[in-house]
């Protein structure tokens, strides 16, 4: 297994997206990280250690299998799930947390800081930091912490110091800003573990490289199972699992790649988190990318029932792939996502997160337009344990 990426360009640019829009104080830190990553990815020993950890510590490869009882109506394409919810800690975030912590260790750093929205990057980073004996600080928005209390407790059990952020939207965006400030003051000992392929170069490229294992596995599993899918569907928050899955299929023009964004309550007027489909070009959290901002460039608060989707910025690589037409976007409302998660749980015994529920709902609509001999692959990035409180409100007593 290699850790190369596709479609990345020099100087961290994907078309006109990307770059390093950071306080100058972070430039040497990013330069060191870039050099260390370039060096590590060529090192066979680093790759072996990483692959071993992905296998034994994260629990890869994760299964790919169908969910025949999920569909409300018969007759459409078959839907198969890529089950990254079955990793040991933090769903697919474990892939890049292991990679980045291993790299930090190699660079002689002894502490990590991360932000988390859905809690999964926090859990993954806290778990790996525990394993590597590194100090770990996790920033989470106050509203995300309140609706995912068990995740916060889990991070604490792994020894992480959890910082609840009351600023701004009290969600992922505020947590990212706070984690960045923390990192700026301590970059001599601490590295920032990005959950998503967002932020300044080399983060988008590096996170995508560590997440590419999802797509590579899926490709082999599809061949193994004799499946030739028509569409890959993934919900986009920061975009870690989306780019991880899609990266292995970018050069297969016969397959459609569908990025699903949170429509919030739904409708034109309500708050949402669809910055790839409805955002504007801007500069946010270190990169030129698609952002939700008003006409004056102020960042707009997002809304989604899935905390992991509720983020106003986006991966510069995904922004580029959407702009060039390789990736399509769709929107799914809170209610549709929730209904999909509940039905999957009832009919298949699989509890997925609300983020994945968006992809499931989108896939169901797409499947109806295809024939039963066709296949749609849906990314299941993490389990729904964190959303139990939100989900049980919906079940009639």
């Amino acid at each position: 297994m290699g850790i190369e990426t596709k479609n990345s360009t020099k100087n961290g640019r994907f078309g006109h997206f990307g770059g390093q829009f950071v306080a100058p104080i972070l430039l040497p830190v990013l330069d060191r990280l870039e050099a260390a990553f370039d060096d590590a990815r060529k090192d066979a020993e680093f790759r072996d250690t990483l692959n071993q950890l992905l296998h034994r510590y994260v629990g890869r490869p994760t299964p790919l299998f169908d969910i025949p009882r999920f569909a409300a109506r018969k007759g459409g394409a078959q839907i198969v799930l890529k089950r990254d919810d079955l990793t040991f800690n933090g769903g697919n975030y474990a892939n890049s947390a292991v990679g980045q912590c291993l790299l930090a260790k190699r660079m002689g750093l002894n502490a990590v800081v991360a932000d988390t929205g859905s809690g999964q990057n926090g859990i993954a980073t806290a778990a790996v930091a525990a394993r590597f004996g590194m100090k770990c600080t996790i920033y989470i928005g106050a509203s995300d912490a309140a609706r995912q209390q068990s995740t916060v407790k889990k991070m604490t059990l792994f020894g992480a110091k959890v910082q609840i952020v009351e600023d701004a939207d009290r969600a992922l965006s505020a947590a990212t800003s706070a984690a960045t400030r923390h990192w700026m003051g301590r970059s001599d000992t601490t590295t920032y573990v990005a959950g998503a392929p967002i932020g300044p170069h080399p983060y988008p490229e590096m996170v995508a490289a560590f997440q590419a294992v999802i797509g590579r596995e899926t490709r082999l599993q599809l061949i193994d199972q004799g499946l030739a899918p028509s569409i890959f569907v993934s919900a986009v928050g920061g975009g870690a699992s989306t780019i991880g899955l899609f990266s292995a299929f970018l050069d297969d023009p016969q397959v459609r790649l569908m990025a699903v964004e949170g429509a919030g309550e739904g409708g034109e007027k309500s708050a949402h988190s669809a910055r790839l489909g409805r955002g504007r070009r801007g500069i946010f959290h270190g990169a030129e990318t698609m952002v939700l901002a008003d006409a004056h460039g102020q960042i707009i608060s997002t809304s989604s029932i899935a905390p992991g989707l509720s983020y106003p910025g986006s991966s510069p690589q995904l922004a580029h792939l959407v702009e060039t037409g390789r990736i399509e976007t769709m929107e799914v409302s809170n209610a549709a996502a929730k209904a999909a998660v509940l039905r999957l749980a009832k009919r298949e015994g699989i509890l997925l997160c609300l983020e994945a529920g968006h992809a499931l709902a989108a896939a169901e609509g797409l499947a109806a337009q295809l024939s039963p001999d066709q296949t749609i692959v849906v990314m299941a990035q993490s389990s729904g344990d964190k959303d139990i409180e939100t989900l049980v409100e919906e079940i009639p007593q």
Partner: protein, 280 residues
């Protein structure tokens, strides 16, 4: 655009340093967020700054996500936004200030996204028309600023580079005609309003800047007291005090009239104390 557009406007910062050098003084700079708490209050405050000894004003254009700033300036941004502040209104404010003060240099300070959304060319032209002399953008390093620098050069506005002891010279020096004014030397790591560096570390940082640049060097971040400002003034060409003064002003304001003489007299007295310490 013709040569004439770049001549008079770029000179305000240069003439300030020339004047101060002749008087053997260091520059004293402060920062305020536009529209904190209102447009009119900002205008009154800026004139009061100048009247009580400020040489150059950094005027923050409010942004929803001031990532380089600590709690004090984050809150100031929130107040500025709440009263309708944005890049557009900040340029209006600069233009209003310029009507009665043609001399004091104004340096716009803020973040990249509002500039990107306004468009660099449009921004540069509007800023020049409003009498802005320079730009400091917290998340816009020189290595990314090609298009912005070209636009600024066409309008005769300086991009003020931020320098830090950990940076390589290439990240704060440039031959580009838009890069100039002064070097903003940041002797500490971390956001604004954080801990102070020792005067020895500051002197070393300034010396490093002078090795690779002929621009005047101003020191900001972590300068909190008149005594410290005086010490910094001994080693640098200028001192920037932001968070410490905003904290004092907020403490005094506390619901009072931000345009009232009680508050503005207090502002003048505080500025004066720093000014006297720096000039001693």
């Amino acid at each position: 655009m013709t040569q004439s557009a770049t001549t008079p406007k770029t000179r305000r910062i240069d003439s300030m340093f020339k004047r101060l050098k002749a008087e053997d003084k260091s520059a004293f700079v402060t920062y305020t967020v536009a529209n904190d708490p209102t447009f009119e209050a900002s205008l009154a405050l800026m004139h009061k700054f100048v009247a009580s000894g400020i040489d150059l004003i950094e005027i923050g254009h409010p942004f929803s996500d001031p990532i380089l700033d600590g709690a004090t300036i984050q809150k100031a941004n929130i107040r500025g936004l709440a009263s309708g502040g944005n890049l557009d209104r900040t340029l209006d404010l600069c233009a209003a200030f310029r009507q009665t003060d043609p001399v004091t240099p104004l340096v716009l300070m803020g973040y990249a996204n509002p500039l990107a959304v306004m468009g660099y060319e449009h921004f540069a032209q509007r800023a020049a028309a409003a009498g802005v002399d320079g730009l400091i953008a917290g998340d816009f390093p020189l290595r990314e600023a090609g298009d912005l620098l070209d636009a600024l050069a066409r309008s005769g506005i300086f991009m003020i580079p931020m320098a830090a002891p950990t940076l390589e010279a290439k990240d704060f020096t440039s031959e580009h005609p838009a890069v100039g004014g002064f070097l903003y030397c940041i002797p500490v790591v971390g956001p604004t309003g954080g801990p102070s560096a020792s005067i020895e570390a500051i002197a070393a940082g300034v010396a490093e800047c002078r090795k690779v640049s002929t621009l005047p060097v101003m020191v900001g971040f972590g300068v909190k007291t008149p005594q410290m400002a005086a010490d910094v003034g001994q080693v640098a060409d200028g001192v920037i005090v932001a968070t410490a003064l905003i904290d004092m002003f907020q403490g005094k304001l506390n619901g009072d009239d931000p345009q009232g003489s009680d508050y503005l007299d207090y502002v003048a007295a505080q500025i004066n104390q720093f000014r006297m310490a720096i000039d001693k």
